[in-house]
């Protein structure tokens, strides 16, 4: 977009202010809705625009009313903007940068002329419960409703090709975290550090200081001293533009840190021994008719604008002040050259009635009937205590009638409060209290550290010695000062600026029976917008209390939950940091152009481009597959047969040295858990294998038996999955191929028959073992080679077998081969309800064993006949492959499903495994398979699972 030249200069920029944060020596330019604007380094997006006379920064969510500055802080609901391809940027917080491209959100066609503001005219349709009432019926119109609603919603635009930013993650173990870097937070942090604690001081804004930054000369001097103390204190780490976003059990804190170079955001997971909550107080808006007009501002917003950014907030002002901070704003306005036309003292009765104007305040009508022309109305009616982190610590703050705000009630030992959230008083009293809190926080942290160390067996003795902490000193009490209870001046006006919820909406909800604040919140969406109730909650409670004739204390408040401030998905996702496992042969697979398959943490070859060809190579010659992910456990000790008997449904006591047996594991509910072969390599050494995806579960299952139920068994279990590279050599010519590489093992069928294991040397590599098993149904040898030699053996097999036509095959070919052979896969052809008999494993279940995992349930299943069974199925039309999970239907009911299906290159037809109802298990039964497109195909139940070589002659050859 070509920007036109800057329309205006910084006409509202004031003379240099003592506390200003802008750097007048570093001017810059950025664009706003396509126009160039000047600014200074240190300006926020919105302060720069305000300095140029802009007053409207967004259109509201529902009614598309023009919105301007309110609090001039992160929370400012009217200042959410789009920056480049980043939506929902807090324009009154984010600092402007050279060349920044900023635009308004939720406007169409432009900020000045927004056609959607017609919603204001039809506002009666958008009242309380609007969503629930309007878009319920008829259901078929939902897609249309959705399209309309989406157009009117206020989110920004996310470009699908947005660059992926770098998000970071860090773990921290500070003694004390201080949430809030105002005067109390700084004082607490310094005191804690001086008492020996490692402190993390976290401040939402770009600088420490809180309200002192827009204070008078005395306060600015106090700020300088506090900042110097923080800088000098040993062991205080300061994070600015960062926020403690959540507090969880054991003071586990999520902190979003935004002030880092080359890092968009960093999520700090901090385990704090003590948390000091010192967020200060948030100024509360006043509810009256016209309270959302641009030009209606909070006193803190005005003071920030004047003192931090040297911007004149208006020309002629009316001020409603009910506290000293509001009075101070009057002085600031006068200094900034704003004519203060009228001051309404909120401490003395009626206040103001309404503000009027079209695109901003033009006049204010006071309660005494006077009407004052002005373009700025400043309110200072009270404070909200942001108790979110206290809520998350289990506290239920209580309402103080006297202070007209909520105060903490019962805090856990590891959470303390300081500053305005704790009470009132002059600066010196608040910082003195905060210092005491900081010292106490350090003391409690030291106590916690001692208790944690005592819990670590390895160092408990060594660290047992430190002296007891000094006896706790009672924390000084902070007074609570009187403050008038000012929330609303009538039944009109906005309570929630983010969600466009008015006082009338809340009253209407109460009249409809939604008399609990939690119900009203969900029904009207009040406090559910981007400012998360920090500006709105107490006003909502006050309006509802009045509407239901109760007090605020009786009405209570909603519970603040994490996150404290909106968090980006990027910060939550963090770095792309997923561990990946692959076999030692992976470089070869990649060079060969294998299609990768992600299987849990493993990356393995799905195919080398031609699964059907790979299948034919195995059936007619020889193929090799990398099966390294197979779970492998080395079991040693005299009681291994006991363990195997307990884990598997099969019998194991008579497994000779050199033999291999296939076993099925069930959980205690009789459901098939895993399967695999176990071989006895020596008198007291066994290798147990588990499925690739089940290996982790099987390991925990074995450990569970050995540690909890049978701790007396003498068995060592060592996971050796990645210690061996595993290669299956399959096909009628596999013996011939292997004979060229194996030196010390007789491969003749009589010497090394089916289901036997041998230890030997392969391609010059010692310490290998190999067993004859047959997942593919062919003559095959599974080789297990010390991992560092895996690639060498793999390459040797291909090199020495070139004249035999040896081909590598991938997981897809293996799946076809095993389906032709009718071998089921746990988790694919079984599910969380498939007990052993249902999977056709009755032959393996030895109920004459006194005990094994799952036996009890299998005894009961063996007496029943009502369970679905796994059967081989062949579609009558062999060209149709019903997708896996297709339903088998009987009349109007479901009578099974297809669990595996493929086109068989060997048979030239489609083949399946599937579950069918008991009445359909008879060989030759025709079943109906419902395809996803609604069509149906007939399939025949086969006499056995195997579609190919059911007698098993090939694998024994």
């Amino acid at each position: 977009m070509t920007a036109v030249s800057a329309r205006t200069g910084m006409t509202l920029r004031l003379e240099p202010q003592p506390g200003e944060v802008i750097d007048r020596n570093r001017p810059l330019e950025f664009t706003w809705n396509g126009q160039r604007f000047p600014a200074y380094h240190g300006d926020t997006i919105v302060s720069a625009l305000a300095a140029c006379g802009e007053r409207i920064f967004s259109r509201s969510f529902k009614y598309h009313r023009p919105r301007g500055l309110l609090s001039a802080s992160f929370l400012d609901p009217g200042c959410t903007v789009q920056v480049g391809d980043e939506p929902n940027v807090r324009g009154a917080h984010r600092r402007v940068e050279p060349g920044m491209v900023v635009s308004a959100q939720n406007v169409w066609p432009s900020l000045r002329y927004d056609v959607k503001s017609v919603n204001q005219v039809v506002g009666r349709f958008l009242t309380a419960g609007f969503y629930y009432k309007t878009f319920i019926k008829p259901q078929r119109l939902w897609p249309a409703y959705e399209r309309v609603l989406r157009r009117f919603s206020s989110g920004g635009v996310v470009a699908k090709d947005s660059a992926h930013g770098y998000y970071d993650k860090r773990y921290a173990h500070p003694d004390v975290v201080v949430a809030g870097g105002g005067p109390a937070g700084m004082a607490a942090a310094v005191a804690a550090a001086e008492a020996g604690a490692a402190v993390l001081l976290v401040e939402e804004e770009y600088e420490l200081g809180g309200h002192l930054r827009w204070g008078d000369a005395g306060q600015l001097e106090a700020l300088r001293e506090l900042r110097a103390a923080v800088a000098a204190a040993p062991g205080v780490e300061v994070m600015t533009n960062s926020v403690v976003n959540g507090r969880y059990d054991g003071n586990w804190l999520g902190i979003v840190q935004r002030n880092l170079p080359h890092v968009v955001e960093r999520l700090v997971k901090a385990r704090a021994k003590t948390l000091v909550v010192a967020p200060g107080l948030i100024e509360r808006p006043y509810v009256f008719e016209g309270n959302d007009l641009p030009g209606v501002m909070l006193s803190t917003g005005v003071r920030r604008l004047v003192n931090l950014h040297a911007v004149k907030p208006g020309q002629r002002a009316v001020v409603l002040s009910a506290n000293p901070e509001g009075d101070a704003a009057i002085d600031d306005l006068a200094r900034a050259g704003v004519e203060v036309a009228k001051v309404v003292d909120g401490r003395r009765g009626p206040t103001i009635q309404r503000a009027t104007g079209s695109r901003g305040v033009q006049a204010v009508e006071c309660a005494d009937g006077t009407v004052v022309d002005c373009d700025l109305l400043v309110t200072a009616v009270g404070w909200t205590a942001p108790t979110a982190l206290l809520n998350m610590a289990g506290d239920r703050p209580v309402y103080s009638e006297r202070a007209a705000r909520f105060l903490p009630s019962l805090l856990p030992d590891d959470v303390l409060v300081a500053g305005g959230i704790a009470g009132d008083g002059p600066l010196e009293q608040l910082t003195e209290h905060a210092r005491a809190v900081g010292r106490e926080a350090a003391g409690r942290a030291a106590e916690t550290a001692r208790s944690l160390c005592a819990g670590i067996p390895q160092i408990a003795e060594r660290r047992a010695g430190p002296p007891d902490p000094e006896p706790a000193v009672a924390l000084p009490e902070l007074p609570v000062e009187d403050h008038p209870a000012l929330f609303f001046s009538g039944t009109r006006g906005f309570v929630d600026f983010s969600e466009d919820v008015t006082a009338k909406d809340l009253i209407a909800a109460a009249e409809e029976g939604y008399d609990s604040i939690e119900l009203v919140k969900r029904y009207t969406t009040v406090t559910m917008g981007p400012s998360q109730g920090k500006l709105e909650t107490v006003n909502a409670v006050a309006v509802l209390a009045a509407a239901t004739g109760r007090t605020i204390a009786e009405t209570g408040t909603t519970v603040w939950r994490p996150p404290y401030a909106p968090i980006t998905l990027g910060a939550l996702a963090g770095r792309i940091f997923e561990p990946v496992r692959h076999s030692p042969m992976q470089p070869w697979h990649e060079a060969a152009g294998a299609t990768p398959l992600v299987a849990g943490a493993w990356i393995r070859p799905d195919s080398y481009g031609d699964p059907a060809g790979e299948v034919r190579a195995v059936r007619s010659g020889v193929g090799i597959i990398d099966v390294t992910p197979l779970g492998k456990f080395d079991l040693r000790g005299p009681d291994v047969p006991e363990l195997l008997n307990q884990l598997y449904v099969n019998k194991w006591s008579r497994l000779d040295v050199g033999s291999v047996r296939y076993g099925v594991m069930c959980a205690e509910d009789g459901v098939v858990l895993d399967d695999g072969v176990t071989g006895r390599l020596a008198e007291d050494r066994y290798i147990l294998t588990a499925t690739s995806s089940g290996a982790a579960t099987v390991q925990e299952w074995i450990e569970s038996w050995l540690q909890t139920e049978r701790p007396d068994w003498r068995i060592h279990v060592t996971p050796v999955t990645t210690a061996y590279a595993s290669i299956n050599v399959a096909g009628p010519r596999s013996r011939e191929l292997l004979g060229r590489l194996v030196e010390d093992v007789d491969l003749a069928n009589e010497a090394f028959p089916y289901m036997r294991v041998r230890v030997g040397r392969i391609a010059g590599v010692d310490g290998c073992f190999m067993w004859r098993i047959g997942f593919t149904g062919e003559l095959s040898y599974e080789l297990h080679v010390p991992a560092s030699h895996g690639l060498r053996v793999w390459e040797a097999l291909l090199e020495r077998g070139a004249d035999l036509g040896v081909r590598p095959f991938g997981v897809e070919a293996q799946r076809i081969l095993r389906l032709e052979k009718g071998h089921f896969i746990v988790g694919q052809d079984t599910d969380g309800l498939t007990q052993a008999y249902g999977a056709g494993l009755g032959w393996a279940v030895k109920l004459d064993k006194p005990d094994f995992a799952g036996r009890t349930e299998l005894v009961w299943q063996s007496r029943r006949d009502d369970y679905f069974r796994l059967v081989g199925l062949q579609p009558v039309d062999g060209s149709v492959v019903p997708p896996e999970a297709s339903q088998i239907v009987l009349g109007r009911g479901i009578a099974g499903r297809i669990t595996s299906s493929r086109m068989s290159p060997t048979l030239g037809r489609s083949i399946c495994l599937g579950f069918v109802a008991p009445s359909l298990t008879g060989p030759g039964t025709q079943v109906t398979v419902r395809l996803p497109d609604g069509g149906e195909v007939a399939a025949t139940v086969m006499p056995q699972h195997a579609h190919f070589d059911p007698e098993g002659t090939r694998q024994r050859g």
């Binding site: 944690l452 067996p457 509910d669 009890t856």
Partner: protein
Amino acid sequence: MLLPCPWCGPRNASEFRYVGEQTVRPDPATADPAEWRSYLYMESNPAGWVAENWLHRAGCRRYFAAERHTVTNQVRATRPPDAEAAPAQHADAAAAGRAGEHVREGRP
């Protein structure tokens, strides 16, 4: 939440797998279906102290027993699965002195 592993000391809850409430496996030879399925599926799920099993999966890979308060997530004692539960009033003494018995006091 911090869980005090009897072997490793207090570690973040994300290192552990919750196994379930402590149960006694019924005798498979005599258990009736109601008894067996109660063992498999039923939990008392109190709002208060509960005896349960955990696995320090990303640590020492040991199973252990813990007494946890389900409302506050406070853990007052952990021990190996085959150790007898220490009487609650003695938990402090156990934490302080009897390291050899692997009984640990936990803080939330």
